[in-house]
């Protein structure tokens, strides 16, 4: 099946990317001595806990120390700290993949766990919510406005949005967010400055949902402002290019109604190259999301990143870098699949 084969190839190459990233990450961790530090911290953690438990039953301090030392030895061997770091590579890779990186320094989940694994699981959906909503809105804006202005190139609306796109390329997303807070939260006081819910959050589901909406307006607007600029311009360019093609003329000669021509002959054909460019811009969309979360205190993984940097929490940073890579790869894969569905010419 042609479709299946090309998708499989894409999937494999993206998987390869994840593996290489993991490998490189751990290589760097080992070479810079971070993995040593981290694992030592893990060992010390466990030793400490064990010491406490053991001291309940063993009263003799010398005996206690001996057992604890023995325990430490065992742990060091188990974690491979007695060997040079290159030998620990496979183990580390597995550890990163399963997020078994111990505890975060200061961050806590809602329930109080500091396990990195739990933290990521808790924050992930919030980030995904933010990103997908913003991307969806930007896509809709891009398609509607982009096609609209492509029908009248050179018009005032067209020039306005072309300039808007150029500007949005130059404006840092996070600064827009800050300015929004300054205007809407600080000066006008009509929207909240940060967070996902008010404290305390409302319990009634409808009120809770509205509260979420109210908090989400600014962060989503910031992200949409950043993303839609290029989407609109992109759609406009691709639609313009496609509209000049011969088969569009043929469609009109066939007496097809204009909106059918628009849908099937222009937009549908322009979709694959638009999608290609969206894929290319995916990385910066992700970056924008991280920064927006930071600015608005949106309790997703971006904010966790910020937290990790400030508290110099290596374990958290590693986990987050890894999962962002995974998210990126998954998003890419989805888009690539979409592309193959849309453009029959690439199925080999």
């Amino acid at each position: 099946m042609k479709l299946g084969r090309s998708l499989l190839m894409k999937g494999l190459s993206l998987l390869f990317v994840v593996i290489v990233t993991l490998f490189l990450m751990n290589l760097i961790l080992g070479a810079t001595g971070f993995s040593d530090r981290m694992l030592t911290a893990l060992v010390n953690d466990q030793v400490r806990i064990q010491r406490q438990t053991l001291s309940q039953t063993i009263q003799d301090p010398v005996e206690l120390q001996r057992i604890v030392d023995q325990l430490e030895e065992t742990l060091i061997q188990a974690y491979g700290l007695d060997k040079p770091w290159p030998m620990r590579l496979p183990q580390m890779i597995w550890r990163v993949m399963s997020f078994d990186l111990g505890h975060a320094k200061t961050a806590q989940t809602f329930r109080g766990s500091t396990l990195i694994k739990d933290l990521i699981m808790e924050r992930l959906p919030k980030t995904v919510l933010l990103i997908t909503t913003s991307v969806a809105i930007s896509a809709i804006l891009g398609l509607t406005i982009g096609t609209k202005i492509a029908t009248k190139p050179g018009s005032r609306l067209d020039r306005f949005f072309s300039n808007y796109s150029a500007f949005s390329y130059a404006i840092p997303t996070w600064w827009t967010g800050i300015v929004f807070i300054l205007i809407f939260a600080q000066t006008l006081r009509i929207l909240p400055a940060n967070g996902m819910y008010s404290t305390p959050p409302p319990t009634v589901p409808v009120a809770r949902f509205l509260d979420l909406l109210w908090h989400a307006i600014l962060p989503i607007s910031t992200l949409v402002l950043a993303l839609s600029g290029s989407w609109i311009y992109l759609t406009r360019t691709m639609v313009l290019n496609t509209a000049q093609q011969d088969f569009v003329n043929v469609a009109r000669a066939k007496g097809l109604p204009e909106n059918l021509v628009m849908r099937r002959y222009i937009i549908r054909v322009a979709a694959p190259p638009i999608l290609t460019n969206v894929i290319l811009g995916l990385a910066s969309s992700l970056a924008g999301a991280i920064l927006t979360e930071t600015v608005f205190g949106w309790p997703g993984m971006g904010l966790l990143y910020w937290n990790a940097i400030v508290t110099v929490d290596e374990g958290l940073i590693i986990a987050l870098t890894f999962i962002y890579t995974v998210i990126y790869v998954v998003a890419r894969m989805i888009l690539e699949i979409l592309y193959v569905i849309l453009d029959p010419r690439v199925r080999y």
Binding site: Q245, D246, F247, N249, V250, A251, R252, A253, K254, G255, L256, P257, L260, R264, Y265, R268, V269, A271, P272, L342, D343, P344, R345
Partner: protein, 320 residues
């Protein structure tokens, strides 16, 4: 009389000025006839085809005249009605460059079926056998229906495009350089197909090309265009064997002959600027028989024996 074009004018507005692409054309076509329109690039032949089918570009400035098809005046018909009743139903077209005439992301079968669905209100399932029928007529196998354009060869794509033009069985088909992008053997195949269709299906067509020899292969009537004007029109034999207009004569003389000992001729100079055409006859700067009057006044249309028409001062006494 299937088609009668009278005093058709069409111009576009560009940065440099108004381009008079179609500058007063008169043509007629009988049912079952093939009218060949011959001329250099830029002489207005494609604009003529766009003018007949009302596929006007954005920057069109003048569009007037009379086009009567099967007794019905097309010029007055409002846009939407033209789209619904004339486009493809009465006149269909095969564009220059079949390579790009098909939507790349839709299978070819549904594309050919589209006019049936849109204009005839047919259901998709009913349309499919009709399309396969037409495919058979043009010599395409049934599997072609589910193919994408990029999976077909150039010749097959050309046949699809022709099939598409035939699907509603229109009284008139316009073909603009249908074979210029193809290699010679496919060209021959396509021409044979067209000749067969003309004979068996009694198809009326307007065949536009720059290749005068190719045109003579299929055309009953031939019209030579230059600078937006029809400078000569007559039966194919008349135009090929007894060309009256100096341009036609030079055109024929510049066709290389396989077994001739003489060198091919050429026409000095360049095609006229359609924004500022020369005063008088458009061709006079390049004409080897130009007279004084040619430089001053537009040449009249002269009727010669056998129905041949020329726009040239050389035959001024036979003025219509």
């Amino acid at each position: 009389m299937l088609l009668q074009i009278s005093d058709l004018y069409m111009s576009y507005l560009t940065i440099r000025g108004e381009v008079r692409a179609v500058d007063g054309i008169n043509l007629s076509l009988e049912s079952g006839e093939a009218l060949g329109i011959v001329g250099e690039s830029g002489c207005g032949k494609t604009s003529l085809s766009l003018g007949i089918t009302r596929l006007l570009p954005e920057n069109v400035s003048t569009y007037k005249g009379s086009i009567v098809l099967q007794g019905q005046e097309l010029m007055g018909i409002p846009r939407d009605r033209f789209r619904r009743e004339v486009n493809w139903k009465k006149i269909s077209m095969v564009f220059q460059g079949a390579m790009n005439s098909l939507n790349p992301v839709v299978k070819v079968g549904p594309q050919v079926a589209e006019p049936l669905i849109i204009h005839m209100g047919m259901k998709k399932e009913k349309a499919r056998p009709r399309v396969i029928e037409i495919f058979e007529t043009v010599g395409l196998p049934e599997e072609t229906y589910d193919r994408y354009p990029h999976e077909l060869s150039g010749g097959m794509k050309q046949r699809v495009v022709i099939a598409m033009a035939l699907i509603l069985n229109p009284p008139l088909i316009i073909l603009d350089e249908p074979t210029s992008a193809l290699d010679v053997s496919i060209q021959a195949q396509t021409m044979n197909l067209l000749k067969r269709l003309k004979k068996e299906e009694h198809m009326s067509m307007i065949f536009i090309t720059h290749d005068i020899a190719l045109s003579s292969d299929i055309s009953d009537k031939m019209a030579v265009m230059y600078g937006g004007h029809v400078v000569e029109v007559g039966t194919a034999e008349q135009v090929i064997l007894a060309p009256k207009h100096p341009y036609t004569q030079k055109l024929l003389a510049s066709t290389p002959m396989l077994r001739s000992y003489s060198e091919p001729d050429f026409i000095p100079g360049a095609p006229p600027d359609l924004v500022n055409p020369p005063q008088g006859c458009n061709f006079h700067p390049r004409c080897h028989m130009a007279m004084d009057v040619c430089r001053r006044e537009d040449p009249p249309t002269c009727l010669l024996e056998g129905g041949q028409r020329v726009e040239c001062w050389l035959y001024g006494d036979k003025n219509e």
